[in-house]
């Protein structure tokens, strides 16, 4: 960690003007600073800013302040009833201690877990564009399979963001000059191209102030299915966030997003279209799953992710549409 100036903001305006690196829970940023992957000259602590820690009703939806902790959000009774997918995705991530510190804004903006990004002895385009990508030809178990570029193969590790994407949440951003804008969460992240150092579309001085959840998908069945290398406290290998609206055996709407497979929560509109209006069946799911993984893996170590995503997708849909033997499984249903 290099010496830095510390500025404690009490209003979003101050924070934007201080033009430094924002620190919220610090659970990712401090680790990156200790190993000198991120070396801010000024840290702007936003945790004392009032009004960013509340979850309030917003039409039929919710407005979640950027400083709401992952724990508070996951346990909020409104969230658990109306958007159980979100609650489950958060609880599938990190550990209780980390979730107590981690914030909504920080979770969205956490950096990749590609091990080469965390090791300054290795070239990494995400740290320094143009330096090279050590993951290519190296160990790549955690890398992405979709949306990568020749410059970077890294995956985005957030579980919460995957659920928010399936739920079509919006992100509220305050620009340095004070104007607020709202963008769909899919538009927050950018694909690496030749600038993998830029994970998102945020500009200098932008602060995430809130996440907006639209009205609950009443009557939908929701599951966040995350597969990882141990039962808890590990980043995902693949995950599927699904909220399915059914009428009888027919899938009316499918809200889907996939985690740990791309530089951002992955979505595939064609997949949803193939499902909607169809009766749930193993043959349907197998076909759709094949379409989902039609692209090849860019790194030999992630070839397995295609198979694993395919299988996890099918298992999740079977579970949600009750094709699976339901003993031992529990499906969250939204409540009105």
């Amino acid at each position: 960690m290099r010496p830095f100036d510390y500025f404690r903001a009490t209003a979003t305006g101050d924070a934007a003007m201080a033009s430094g690196q924002i620190i919220a829970g610090g659970t990712n940023l401090l680790d990156l600073m200790k190993i000198q992957v991120v070396n801010p000259e000024t840290l702007v602590d936003i945790t004392r800013i009032e009004g960013l820690s509340e979850i309030v009703c917003h039409g039929d939806g919710l407005r979640i302040g950027a400083l709401v902790t992952n724990t508070a959000l996951a346990h909020d009774t409104r969230v658990r009833a109306g958007w159980p997918l979100l609650s489950r995705a958060i609880l599938a991530g990190a550990s209780a201690q980390i979730r107590n510190k981690a914030t909504t804004g920080g979770n969205l903006l956490q950096r990749t877990r590609c091990p080469y990004f965390y090791d300054t002895s290795q070239p990494c385009n995400k740290r320094t564009p143009g330096e090279g990508c050590a993951a290519q030809g190296g160990s790549g178990r955690m890398l992405a399979i979709f949306g990568t570029s020749e410059h970077c193969l890294a995956a985005h590790p957030s579980d919460m963001a995957v659920a928010l994407t399936a739920l079509q949440a919006e992100v509220e951003i305050r620009a340095r000059k004070g104007d607020l804008r709202r963008i769909p969460i899919q538009q927050l992240y950018r694909e690496p191209g030749d600038r993998p150092d830029r994970d998102t579309v945020l500009e200098a001085g932008d602060i995430i102030t809130a996440v907006i959840l639209p009205a609950p998908l009443i009557g939908s069945r929701q599951v966040y299915r995350k597969v990882r290398d141990r039962a808890s406290y590990a980043f995902g290998l693949v995950s599927v966030a699904a909220a399915i609206e059914m009428e009888g055996d027919t899938i009316m709407r499918a809200h889907l997003s996939y985690g740990s497979v791309a530089p951002h929560p992955w979505t595939d509109d064609a997949v949803a279209e193939m499902l909607e209006g169809q009766a749930a069946s193993d043959a349907l799911f197998a076909n759709v799953a094949d379409a989902l993984i039609s692209e090849g893996a860019p790194h030999p170590d992630t070839e397995y992710k295609r198979t694993l995503l395919r299988r996890t997708f099918i298992a999740t849909l079977r579970q949600l549409t009750v094709l699976a033997d339901r003993s031992g499984t529990d499906i969250a249903r939204t409540q009105a």
């Binding site: 200790k34 002895s121 597969v227 141990r230 397995y304 694993l308 996890t312 099918i314």
Partner: protein, 729 residues
Amino acid sequence: MTDTFTMDSPQPRLLDQTGQGVVGTPMNRPDGPHKVSGRASYTADTVMDNVLHGVLVRATIARGKITGIDRDSIRSIQGVIDVITDQRMIRNPAQGMAGEAPVQPGDAVYYHGQPIALVVAETFEGARDAAQRLNIRYETEKAYVTPEGTPDREVADPETAGDFDAAWKAAEVRVDQKYTTPSHAAAAMEPHAAIADWKDGSVTLRSSLQMIRFNKKELADTLGIEPAQVRILAPFVGGGFGSKLGLGPEAAAAAIASQKLGRPVRVVMTRQTVFDCVLRRSETAQRVRIGATQDGRITAISHDDTVSNLDGEGFSEPVSQASQFLYGADGLSFTQTVARIAATPAGSVRAPGEAVGMLGFESAMDELADSLGIDPVELRLRNLPDTHPMDGREFSVRGLADCLREGAEQFGWAQRGTAGTRREGDWLIGMGMASAARSSMLVKSAARVRLTGDRAVVETDMTDIGTGTYAILAQIAAEMLGLSPDNVEVRLGNSDLPGASGSGGSFGANSAGSATFLAARKIRARLAEQLGCSEDDLTLQGGRARGGNREMALTDLARDEMQAEATIESGMTAKSHFSSGFGAHFAEVAVNEWTGEVRVRRMLGVMSMGRILNEKTARSQALGGMIWGIGAALTEDMQSDRRDGHVVTRDLANYHVPSHADVPGDMQVLFLEERDDWANPIQTKGIGELGISGAGAAVLNAIAHATGKRIYDFPALPDRVIAAMEAAL
């Protein structure tokens, strides 16, 4: 006073005759309250005036030479005092029980991650900043970093008994399989740390170390001074798992820097540095061949392996250690190949040998049982050898058969059913088992016991690395002297005290426990003399001495301090008898047929491992071992880069030890009553490592039973389980 007792013949079971009744009880650790309240001072907790902070700098090439260190690159950093390079710095930690300096590389680089300099500053932050920014120039050399790729291979002479080739050829049923296991990290909770302070020509080192008697010599040899000039303190050690057996680079660097700068120097490794340069467990490639007759008599056993290490390191993972004595055969053969690679060196990590060797060997046994159509428990029972198959020694006491039977009974093994037939929803359910074995040792060890009135002190340089040494030594002394354990103070981890075995190879309790026992026995003799009775006639209980129709309070009988020191060494019994802990592990798993996730649902370990000194700490050891078994079977996977050999999984977010959710709530341990008269005078066996030995194989065999398919490359990560299941289709 320090005459040595050699274990030449079985000794009377005195601990069964004494009347205090504390040995074996589940007594709480006396150091427990200190630990949970933060009062136990681990190395890095020690506050010292005027201390400087050092941070190790790592090499970032696989092999070559340092041609320049650009000290200007860090001059501007506040508080930086010096960049220390020194011919006496060490390349890596000493191997366990080396007693001499490890390789001192000078400006040569042997592996990516090697500590090559120490940056010293007034603050830890300053030193760490500078260590990361220091510019080093290298001349690189060609390096071979993978065991498959290196031409530098040493093939040992086979260890054999009988004629394996003939027996193999003649075998009616054969299993011939290859297995791989990755490198493992010890992953002790406390990172390696040292604080060195030179005064008047001698150095005091506080460091997180397991074997002080050896570490003292290692530091003296490293620095080129006499052992008498070295003092080492390690009263509390936050886990070792082998990684703190030998003196580490942080300790050598701290001592060198303190000598040079005339101030105490503190060096605490970051977690990444621990992964980079602390000895790892080697990856293994194993080939197991077992031949048998149709009716299930094993006739041929071979277990060959390839492991790796850095040049100049004498250690090689003893993969086939347990395979050499678990089952009998007409012909046995074991050949090891060591591949020399430029990578973080390998050394002892929890149960070196058995922890990974038994994954392969006991999986092959399971497969043999399948091929023969014989129950895996029954197959093992049918093939227990009468004597050590390799050297003919008698078994001291072997409870394996009882463990297998008792375990099968307790676990409900009879309900196991046919492989691949039980399911609950998407989960396939299976049961597996494996034998457990870990040879037991007695290592030279000394201890002193002092008695004043009804209070005693035990003194030895033995360490407690979280295992319970403070508790068991207090119990042994209390039992022998008829005291409440509360009245016994145990002083450990100080090189001024009599030299013990240290904690390693599960021999600490056997060795330091026996020395404590013998020292206390000497005091008993003196008490008997003072009371005027024979030693056999003496009863010590509740602070009172009785014998020869007399009874006296110890406060009267031992008004002046009585002191006795004893040393024990292994002797003739080890030549005539082979001592090993034995056991049987049983596991039930659920395997998700879609995602390949494995959840262990319950586990039982039945163990016969000599006298249990403390039922609670022994159980913790056994449970801990079994959890590490789950880790080896399912999660632990240290990855290195195939180009420059650097460790890729450099923190505990990427190196997966089992989390709570990986450990079933239903984890049972059962100890069978046992005394090993041939092992040592307290009739104990090593216990720490027995828990892991075979435990992972039980989990893997349960996966095979659940899915009807086998995995040969461990750990059984979801993608590997899926690949195995898809091979079935």
